[in-house]
Subunit: 432 residues, 2 copies
């Protein structure tokens, strides 16, 4: 009997996990590599950042997902590059050969023209990012209270959120609720009226991947919560602790949360012709990397350019998950030497939440907003978490937070030191 | 009406918190300063280190404890020194004047002759320490599995615990249970028979502050769990990834957990004559610092040397808590210009746990061990946690861990990089 084919999957995100799970019954040896020992549920990172959930609720050790699946070996390692001509990947724990390679390495933050000041921005792509934001918010509140630094209260307490996608509006909503319900209880001596939460969206509406109704309602919700939403406002630069817009206006703040762009996060070593826009790896309709035999790519990192989807499918968890499951089917066909089947995306709907009892849902045939949407949002997210324990834990935390209007998780366990912005500290009034 | 006296408390440990709470009804202004924004429940740090509880269960934001107590202001700051002649403390957020100062700064690790290699040791005095240990254990298991470093499996997987006090035996028991129940499920390919957990105790028995019965039973429990307990074994040095005993034997390990000593953690600036053994601050029977007017010290950092207690009271949470409450009473008397009352310690008992259904309890009139002791241990610790939410959370985690024989919390969120030991890596067999 010939040896079972070795499938190496790089990345334990939504795509990689679904693929590995769906390979359960196939006679293959799977090696699942990730730089972390856990899978994290990115859509809820903002909850960790704002003290609503603990990391262990939204992150789950990869090897525990596969405890009972014998054909998956998990490895925590950084993948440095792929040597596709010799069918192997170079990693921090040595060189690993493969018969088939699947790249499911997801996306990273795209800073665009803010690249030079990226060390001064906060991002929300990982669990450490979320914990940094949480610490940073509470550190700034302590700093504002002690008021020893000579900076203005506005500069310390203001928050600028760049980007009006789901991550941006969810963070804005959660921060606005903290400002209303939590900060006055924990810091009764702080004047929260001097704290502004500004959200900058370059286009004419927030949530521009959703319906017009959803965008309009999300805007209303944000405004009800006191978020200053600046539409058609492209940020130009950040220096001297102020964020500047293209129209010349500026806003003093130490806290800039960057949710304005993503790019793919490919592995090095693939030939130039398979690199697409935003560093995505170009694949055919069966998720095979163009011109690179035995290598597949799924999820955010992959783009299949067709007439219907000239920019590839959206970089979203459901796409990655469906591609993972589909690719497992194709591996079955491959082993039987059958023709591979093309992938088609089944859009089951999109949703986002702006705060308690405020959410927007676009299903293919039904758009709705408000309390019921919020309930649906919660249900879907609780059911999507890996493991019974995490589901119960999310339910417990959310029930507590809902009843108490509180966000109990405010420990500054590892103080986060953001890079200082360059230039002289200015406390001059807002220009423009 | 004269201004209310300003009481500055340094340290939000057991002593500082109890004192501030007990000052609730007094006409005083309290400022409670701690370097962290949370109080942590040190007796359960080992649970965080071994993945049984999350930090938010055993740590609680200080200002939430005092949300409803108007006469306490909380400040997160590092206290650099006390200027007792001018009645003020110098801190990282400026100089703070006081009418009365209470030092409740607790203890720190005493490395004795291991001071030069302390960067290579793991300690368990804080929440970050506990998270570092947790990460380090899981990182080493991943490393053992990948097995690329050329180190022996024994060196990577072995654990040396120095010190047979409560912290040492609780860690040893929890690690032994992980070895038996958790590691084989998460790392089925690892040969755990090559992992030894050694506990070194310089004296003839573990838990030497407890009864002979408790010591003997704890030793039995540890041995049942497979811990190698080395009594009368004083460690001499740690180099080349081996721990050496005074008798010349050695043990290869990357993981040395140091629980062998504590010293007081005083604030700088006090006059020399009030410094006692182990850096403790000498106080009179009313916790007044000897020769320094208006300054008090309570808890681990204080020592009142009497004929009954020639070394001062033990450095334990109940002493600190009782001194905190007692000092509040004395402040009431002080405001009424009455004579202060001396403190007497009411020993209500001591307990320690070695693992599931294994604990030892010494009450003043009753010593017992085993399953019921374990139940009492759990009950006392759950009830001692601050806040209903933490109590519920501990109950939930422990019920889960009890039923599943599992410790679910194994995320390596911030990989911990311990300093490498000096000298050449040796994989030679054990000498001696």
């Amino acid at each position: 009997m010939p040896q079972e084919p070795r499938i190496v999957i790089v990345g334990a995100g939504f795509g990689g996990i679904e693929l590995a799970k769906a390979l359960r019954k196939l006679p293959v040896q799977v090696t699942l590599i990730d730089r972390n020992n856990y899978h994290n549920f990115q859509p809820l990172l903002y909850q960790v950042a704002t003290g609503g959930l603990e990391p262990d609720t939204i992150a789950y050790p990869v090897r525990r997902i596969f405890r009972r699946q014998r054909n998956v070996a998990c490895r925590m390692a950084e993948v440095h590059s792929v040597d596709w001509e010799r069918s192997r990947v170079h990693t921090s724990i040595g060189t690993i050969p493969y018969d088939y390679l699947v790249l499911a390495t997801g996306s990273a933050t795209n800073f665009f023209n803010f690249e030079p000041v990226k060390e001064q921005l906060l991002t929300l792509k990982s669990v450490p990012d979320a914990l940094n934001i949480r610490s940073y918010i509470y550190q700034n509140l302590e700093k504002a209270l002690a008021n020893y630094s000579g900076e203005s209260l506005e500069e310390i307490m203001n928050v600028a959120i760049v980007g009006g996608g789901p991550a941006g509006i969810e963070m804005a909503g959660a921060l606005a609720e903290m400002k209303i319900h939590v900060i006055p209880r924990d810091f009764p001596d702080l004047d929260t009226s001097r704290m502004s939460i500004n959200l900058y969206q370059s286009g004419p509406r927030v949530l521009n991947a959703m319906s017009e109704e959803a965008s309009a309602k999300a805007l209303t919700y944000l405004q009800e919560l006191g978020v200053q939403v600046k539409l058609n406002s492209r940020v130009a630069s950040y220096h001297d602790d102020r964020i500047y817009l293209e129209d010349g206006t500026s806003f003093p703040t130490d806290t800039v949360l960057w949710t304005a762009g993503v790019r793919a996060n490919p592995v090095k070593g693939l030939p130039k012709p398979c690199e697409g826009k935003g560093q995505r790896i170009l694949v055919d309709t069966c998720n095979r990397v163009i011109g690179v035999p035995e290598v597949f790519a799924i999820g955010d990192v992959a783009a299949c350019i067709t007439e219907e989807d000239p920019r590839g499918l959206p970089m979203m968890a459901p796409v990655a998950q469906q591609q993972g499951r589909h690719l497992a089917q194709n591996f079955r066909r491959l082993l039987r030497k059958e023709e591979l089947l093309p992938f088609t995306y089944n859009n089951k709907g999109v949703m986002a939440t702006v705060g308690r009892v405020r959410a927007v849902v676009d299903l293919p045939g039904w758009k709705f907003q408000g309390g019921f949407a919020w309930f649906v949002w919660m249900l879907v997210h609780i059911l999507s978490l890996v493991g019974f324990r995490s589901k119960l834990s999310a339910l417990y935390h959310w029930a507590f937070n809902y009843i108490s209007y509180d966000r109990p998780l405010g420990l500054i366990i590892r103080p986060y030191r953001r890079e200082e912005t360059s230039g002289i500290k200015t406390n001059s009034p807002e220009r423009g």
